[in-house]
């Protein structure tokens, strides 16, 4: 016991020492850069004052010599003394070029002008841009400005960020119409979904058919499916990093829309012009509210369903070097089922709440600091009442965390990032309480607790004109803590006492080799560890699914991803293309044991089995960024397998989300300043399922004997959606603009199978039985219209 504790301590010390050495080493070797001068500042949208994430800053004469703004819109570039012409550019904005005599450290905040003023949506770049796709070391990373997402066709007119990212290669949908997604063969719980740095544990409304992200409140979405930088961790497969808008600091404006499913309204404006601003954005569904007059006349009076989201954010710049942000999100789904005649009521509320308080500080023009305190809470409740009987199930996740990050820009050769993150988790499994008359019941489940720490350092190092390396190392530590009673030893742990400790060193290495003026070869290795897990017994995750921490029973999931790719831009960066191959090995994967029965009372860990997984694939991506016609084509050829010793004796089977072929075509066409058309086409190999193999009689009814897991497939999935965004003449005045979005989902009315079921009708008396199998599709051709407006 003592030796184990010692070795853990030793490992922790070694880890800390290693990371600190890396930080110090990086800083020391970069000291020579101080003889140069630095240009730094923020890049913002001129009209709203919103900072722009990922904007390019480069020398006009040397595209490869540049940088990009960070998550907070800050940039810093250090160059030899002299006169340089800098180009600032961002997708959808007019580029800005300025000649600067760099003979001292200089601060320059740049306001970029949105491409075309009068049009509702601008998605194309008008000026030359740096070929970030080729130059950067990042792999499998896609940035999607919200304005680009807004012009794509949407199911029932509901703009959905998560459904848009499903159109990227390597990302597959959890099912027809679902906002759930799987990345490169990873499970649904293996995606780190962040909203202003706070983890969102359940990103779906209404069983995942709609995402919780209201596009009106979102500024930017970045999906990292391959080379996850060391600054991110905690999930095996991907990072979806979503930033909320900060609020217009120039003038007040209101934006909203009325659609078939929901309506939206957003207010934003300055509190102190150019210093402080706010944003408040709300969305709510109303289908059932409109039906209440009819429902109230039936036995089901009181039955209702709706969901809503509320996003708020304020920021205050109290000096040139300091800025604070306070952002929050609160969303709920609320279902009420009532049957008056039998005094029956069922209530099902669930949803997320997040809050982030951030302080950005510039120590100097090369060192950017971000400190964030983060709170998030996901709650699920189901309550059943009838007469004297009451039944209640509650589960949830609550995190309180702190993180800080340093962005250090010593020279154009190096961009160093280092930081720390600590989170206290409280995970509540299904806790069931009930009462029947005067007798009370409560299940034995108790909340579980954990501390998760991470320390990281990464350096994006440009060795020369043709070689760039991103070296990163992330050290993580997870402690399961009390109060807890060991299921193995029976030992009782008090509050905060450590039950089990896991740690991990996660190297991240990405290399970019330039092989031509507009092409590069990239390769990378990513190691990731995941300490929180969600296992679903369904074909998609559902709100009642429970997150569980690593513990004395459940080991952390671990993964390695190896990726290599060729990246090429064409026609002055109008087109960017890539071919990426990846191989992933996944360890300590979790699934439910066969014959699992989901009854809410059992502790889910007792139903887990553990195994291995692997995924490999090839992704092709061609994207056109400029001109009136733009969009992308993505294709993925892949295989995803799992094997568990306790499932079919370790037989290797394809995962539910294994797709051999996945093709997407996404296009926008700016027909004229008032009309934009969008088109999406998807083709994917059918989902796997476990076939019925034999039938037999038990107690006079037919029962099913299933064949091997996921050994058959549904027919291929394909669908086309179109949209037309129309800004009527006269509807765009100086202060008020409006537009209509007409969308058609599933244009050619493809009957894609959502699920199958079998129906048995047995009459042993007559010695007859009929067995029928049915395919059910849920979304036929669905036209929709949404009216959007903006007042300023």
């Amino acid at each position: 016991m003592a030796s184990k504790a010692f070795s853990t301590l030793l490992m922790r010390h070694t880890l800390l020492r290693y990371l600190l050495t890396c930080v110090c080493f990086s800083i020391i070797i970069l000291a020579h850069g101080q003889t140069n001068h630095t240009l730094s500042g923020y890049v913002k949208d001129k009209e709203s004052g919103e900072t722009l994430i990922g904007a390019n800053i480069h020398l006009e004469e040397d595209l490869a010599n540049g940088t990009v703004t960070n998550t907070y819109g800050f940039y810093s570039i250090t160059l030899p003394r002299g006169v340089h012409r800098f180009v600032f550019s961002y997708l959808g904005y007019q580029s800005f070029t300025k000649e600067i005599s760099l003979d001292t450290n200089t601060t320059l905040n740049v306001d970029l002008i949105s491409g075309i003023e009068m049009r509702e949506v601008v998605v194309s770049a008008k000026e030359d841009q740096q070929d970030e796709n080729v130059q950067s070391t990042s792999m499998g990373r896609v940035n999607l400005p919200t304005e680009q997402i807004k012009v794509l066709p949407a199911l029932l007119g509901e703009i959905d960020i998560l459904k848009t990212i499903q159109l990227l290669p390597g990302v597959s949908s959890a099912g027809e119409g679902s906002a759930g997604f799987y990345v490169r063969g990873g499970g649904a719980d293996q995606n780190l979904v962040l909203l202003d740095e706070a983890v969102v544990y359940n990103s779906g409304h209404f069983l995942g058919f709609f995402s919780v992200f209201n596009a009106d409140a979102i500024k930017n979405t970045t999906l990292i499916k391959g080379g996850i930088p060391a600054s991110y961790g905690g999930r095996l497969s991907s990072v979806l990093d979503i930033q909320m808008k900060e609020g217009n600091n120039q003038h007040f404006e209101a934006e909203g829309g009325i659609g078939l499913i929901s309506s939206r309204l957003t207010f934003e404006g300055p509190i102190i012009k150019e210093k402080a601003s706010f944003l408040i954005s709300a969305r709510r569904t109303y289908g059932f509210d409109l039906a209440q007059p009819l429902i109230s006349k039936t036995d089901f009076a009181g039955t209702n369903y709706f969901f809503y989201d509320l996003n708020t954010k304020i920021n205050y710049q109290f000096s040139q070097k300091d800025r604070i942000y306070l952002s929050g999100y609160f969303g709920r789904d609320v279902l009420t089922l009532a049957q008056r005649e039998r005094d029956l009521q069922f209530k099902l509320p669930y949803g997320n709440a997040t809050a982030t308080l951030r302080w950005n500080h510039l120590f100097n023009d090369k060192l950017f600091f971000n400190l964030a305190t983060i709170y998030n809470d996901y709650q699920f409740r189901a309550a059943f009442d009838q007469d004297e009987f009451h039944f209640d199930v509650f589960s949830g996740v609550r995190d309180v965390g702190v993180k800080f990050d340093f962005d250090y820009f010593p020279s154009t050769q190096h961009q160093i990032k280092t930081g720390f993150q600590g989170t206290y988790h409280r995970l509540t499994p299904n806790i069931v309480t009930g009462s029947a008359g005067e007798t009370d019941f409560v299940s034995s489940a108790k909340p579980k607790f954990g501390n998760e720490f991470a320390l990281y350092v990464q350096d994006d190092w440009k060795l020369n004109d043709w070689l760039r390396i991103n070296l990163g190392l992330r050290g993580t530590l997870f402690q399961q803590t009390g109060p807890y009673t060991s299921k193995i030893t029976g030992k009782v742990y008090s509050s905060g006492e450590v039950v089990k400790t896991y740690n991990s060193l996660e190297p991240r290495i990405f290399i970019n080799t330039t092989v031509g003026s507009n092409s590069s070869l990239k390769g990378g290795v990513t190691s990731t560890t995941q300490y929180l897990h969600l296992v679903s017994n369904s074909s998609s995750t559902l709100p009642a699914d429970v997150w569980v921490p690593s513990s004395e029973i459940v080991k952390p999931q671990r993964g390695w991803q190896y990726a290599a790719g060729y990246f090429q831009n064409f026609q002055n960066n109008a087109y960017e293309a890539s071919v990426e191959a990846y191989y992933k090995s996944l360890h300590d994967q979790i699934d439910y044991r066969e014959s699992f029965v989901d009854n809410s009372v059992d502790q889910v860990e007792d139903e887990f089995v553990f195994g291995e997984g692997k995924a490999y694939g090839l992704e092709l991506f061609v994207r056109k960024n400029k001109g009136d016609l733009n969009g992308w084509i993505g294709y993925t050829l892949s295989r995803t397998e799992r094997t568990f010793p306790d499932i079919e004796n370790g037989r290797v089977f394809p995962a539910t989300y294994d797709r051999t072929h996945d093709l997407t075509f996404v296009s926008n066409y700016n027909i004229n300043p008032r009309l934009t058309a969008g088109l999406v086409f998807i083709y994917a190999t059918g989902r796997t399922f476990t076939p019925l193999e034999r039938l037999y009689i038990i107690s006079g009814n037919l029962q099913t004997d299933y064949g091997p897991r996921n050994s058959q497939r549904l027919e291929p999935y394909h669908r086309m959606d179109i949209s037309l965004t129309w800004t009527p003449r006269g509807s765009a005045t100086k202060r008020f603009k409006s537009s209509w979005v007409f969308s058609v989902y599933n244009v050619y009315n493809r009957k894609n199978t959502f699920f199958t079921y079998t129906d048995y009708n047995t009459d042993l008396q007559m010695g007859e039985a009929t067995i029928k199998a049915y395919k059910v599709s849920i979304f036929p051709i669905l036209p929709s219209v949404t009216w959007n407006f903006k007042w300023q």
Partner: protein
């Protein structure tokens, strides 16, 4: 006692979205037939004699006719049950072997009308009543047929009878023609107990509701009252406000059973599997205690209660 929230949510989703369903013919299943055992052994009040039904699986879709059902029974198997001390050989009896009077009596026990029964039902029975099942004992089943050996073991736990039963008015809007059955149970503390119930009205065959089994994970050691559904009014054709209720004036019979964990697991997985079809659901493999086949060899300790539906 159980709540299947995901299933409920999925059902609601299905209702809300106008779905389109189309019949289809699945790919032809692979694999040959398997043996299926359905056998029970009961102790307690008025126990049913032990019996075993031995059949083979069907391997096709579409329709099944009386000849196929009759052909699924496995004949001439060597079927033995041992209580650890004595071993009893069970003899195969088919309806066609019985006299018309006996056939009528046996058919009624299984819920059939002997006159119009279209299949020749066959069971293996302890015809000489040599076996005297008792609580707190295990019973081993061994079947040898066509060179194949099938084994299973079941345990008959102690009887835990209901403390009391009574009918009362259903909750909600007053209604004097419907009644809910209220039962009181005192669950022994500290041990896992597994329960199943059957119900019938007016002397009809005993049936089970959509969820007939439960364990005491949630109510270990509690003494409490609960509603027991009428199996006859839990099918999908029943009006929602009559769900699980009895009709005043009928006579209700309840068969209340305790069983071992393996027996519970079989019915628990079967009922979950049957109710878990639909959107988002995945398959559930039935947990069987039969080695060398499918099905169940289950022991019950039974208590019977008959009450007039009145309050």
């Amino acid at each position: 006692m159980k709540i299947k929230i995901n299933i409920l949510i999925a059902f609601i989703a299905l209702v809300i979205f106008s779905s389109c369903e189309k019949e289809y013919t699945p790919a032809k299943p692979e694999g040959g037939p398997k043996y299926v055992v359905e056998g029970y052994i009961e102790a307690g009040d008025n126990p049913f004699p032990p019996y075993i039904i031995l059949t083979k699986t069907f391997d096709f879709y579409g329709t099944l006719n009386p000849e196929q059902f009759t052909g699924s029974f496995v004949h001439d198997a060597d079927v033995r049950v041992s209580d650890g001390t004595d071993e009893v050989v069970f003899k195969e009896i088919c309806f066609s072997d019985l006299t018309p009077e006996l056939r009528k009596e046996v058919a009624a026990q299984f819920g059939f009308d002997a006159d119009s029964l279209a299949i020749d039902y066959c069971v293996y029975l302890d015809v000489l009543s040599q076996l005297h099942p008792q609580q707190d004992k295990s019973y081993d089943l061994t079947i040898v047929t066509e060179g194949h050996t099938i084994t299973a073991t079941t345990y008959i736990p102690d009887q835990i009878p209901l403390d009391s039963l009574h009918f009362e008015a259903p909750p909600g809007k007053p209604n004097d023609t419907l009644a809910q059955l209220r039962c009181h149970l005192s669950d022994p503390a500290g041990v896992r107990n597994f329960y199943r119930y059957f119900g019938s009205t007016n002397g009809g065959p005993l049936k089970t509701a959509f969820s007939s089994v439960t364990e005491d994970l949630f109510f270990d050691g509690k003494s409490f009252e609960f509603q027991l559904y009428n199996p006859a009014t839990t099918n999908r054709d029943v009006e929602p406000n009559e769900f699980g209720l009895y009709i005043v004036g009928d006579t209700a019979t309840i068969k209340w059973c305790t069983m071992d964990e393996a027996h519970f697991d079989f019915w628990n997985t079967l009922e979950f599997s049957n109710s878990n079809q639909g959107p988002f659901s995945s398959y559930t493999r039935l947990k069987s205690n039969i080695h060398g086949g499918l099905g169940i060899w289950g022991g019950y300790n039974v208590s019977y209660y008959t009450r007039k539906v009145a309050y």
